[in-house]
Symmetry: C2
Subunit: 286 residues, 2 copies
């Protein structure tokens, strides 16, 4: 039986991550390069890059690099201090910071210089948030959902930004607290629409398929969210990290005629394609 | 029976109004002057100014003035177009716009020039709001409490200001709607603390008195607000324009031992004093 396979629009890498991974991939395989921390939260991608001579290095080991070694800044971006440090070491810096994140750095830096306090809605340990905080002398107030703000002294002149992958719900929770006291509030909603658009397309697709496959890391929050959304609309939804985890037993079920696929923000196209290929191959063998 | 009379702190004229009225009052009595519209919403003050040769003139009658006639801009301020018109007529302009309102004009003009849409939280017919709107080409969205915004298309890049006499509650209502959709929100809470402080002191006082007297124009929005606040805490609250409207029948009620007084932003001290004097005189006559 021939089944229809539909891949949801905007599955997998967002623009910023694709740009960073392409930067690390599209090079002479002999040339050694480094990324400052793993380029994305996906072991398959990191292993594949290692095979082509791209290695992740932590900031604490930066002294082991030689002058003119190439270091790639991943899409999360880094603080001004880190950028200054890399420059001072005369490294060859390839800045693959997502342009949307660079825009946050710029705004935070400008408003901080204008005397605004900075507040970041996000996870204080996330590299993107750590990087943003580094553009306002690490003086930002950081909150996930504002629950820790109720008793805090909130500056009267405040610029608020968000981690690009933050939930709209948390943004609104924080803002609803700030509007009670702020005299001068500049609220820049820097949540990236890529996540929202990916979720929306997955939702639409999951409503019209007989089986939905979500590909992504089991610890990735955006993948888990995609799985939850699809599960709500299609009871028959699977979460897998790659094609090796896909059991093809479902092919025995003749009720499954349309198969939908979506993938989390850290899943490269080649992993999506491997899943599609496995299904097609199994069908041929039927 | 001797009653205690307590005047709430910060009753009456705010800084901006006092400044405008003083500007119109402190002059040679022979010299004729004009104010563009009544200088404040208080007939007693307007009559008193007329006695000293200061007359209110509407914009539509501006052609009846001669070159070099003096015209006072009241604390509410005016639009850029009106200011340009007065200048083009070579009038002697005395600008008594409240400096806090001038600051709103400046911010609105700047942000509008930077491509922001402007939203004003206030009463669209209030001269202050009409004036502010005139600093962004009369293109502002104007809302009282946001109830008309739920279905409106809200611009993504928005600068929000408030009428200086607006309620904090309405400000929060409007902002809680805007934070749902705005991408870039500059929220300048331009509610003047004079109003808040006056309201707070009136509220505190109204909780501990047996009778509360609010003095001010019945069409004045800030006086009406004061009246509402006091009425919530003291069922026995009166709104009067001046001492002539005060019936002293309440003196027969021996339950009234403490009398509180507050006054709207357009009530001069001499009117407050006349009310106090009337009560004291009546008590003496008992």
């Amino acid at each position: 039986m021939k089944r229809e396979i539909i891949i949801a629009k905007n599955s997998g890498f967002c623009f910023g991550v694709k740009r960073a991974v392409d930067t690390a991939s599209n090079k002479n395989i002999q040339e050694k390069m480094y990324t400052l921390g793993p380029i994305i939260h996906n072991n398959d991608v990191v292993s594949k890059l290692e095979e082509s001579n791209v290695f992740s290095i932590e900031l604490s080991k930066i002294d082991s690099l030689n002058e003119s070694d190439t270091i790639i800044i991943r899409s999360h971006g880094v603080s001004k201090a880190v950028m200054d440090l890399l420059n001072s070491k005369n490294l060859n810096i390839v800045d693959a910071t997502c342009p949307y994140v660079t825009n946050i750095h710029k705004k935070v830096h400008d408003y901080h210089n204008q005397g605004y306090s900075i507040l970041i809605v996000g996870d204080k340990n996330h590299p993107e948030v750590v990087g943003i905080n580094g553009w306002c002398s690490n003086e930002a107030i950081i909150t996930k959902d504002g629950s820790d703000l109720e008793t805090a002294e909130i500056p009267k002149k405040l610029c608020v930004v968000s981690q690009t992958t933050e939930k709209q719900e948390n943004w609104q929770k924080v803002l609803s607290i700030l509007i009670k006291t702020s005299k001068e509030l500049v609220a820049l909603n820097t949540i990236c629409s890529a996540t929202e658009v990916r979720q929306k397309n997955a939702m639409v697709l999951s409503k019209k398929v007989d089986l939905m496959i979500v590909i992504g890391g089991k610890h990735s929050s955006n993948t888990t969210k995609l799985f939850e959304i699809c599960k709500e609309n299609c009871n028959n939804t699977l979460l897998i990290e790659n094609e090796t985890e896909l059991s093809i037993d479902f092919l025995k079920n003749t009720d499954i005629r349309i198969i939908g696929i979506t993938a989390g923000a850290s899943t490269p196209d080649w992993i999506i394609n491997q899943v599609v290929d496995k299904i097609k191959l199994a069908e041929k063998a039927e």
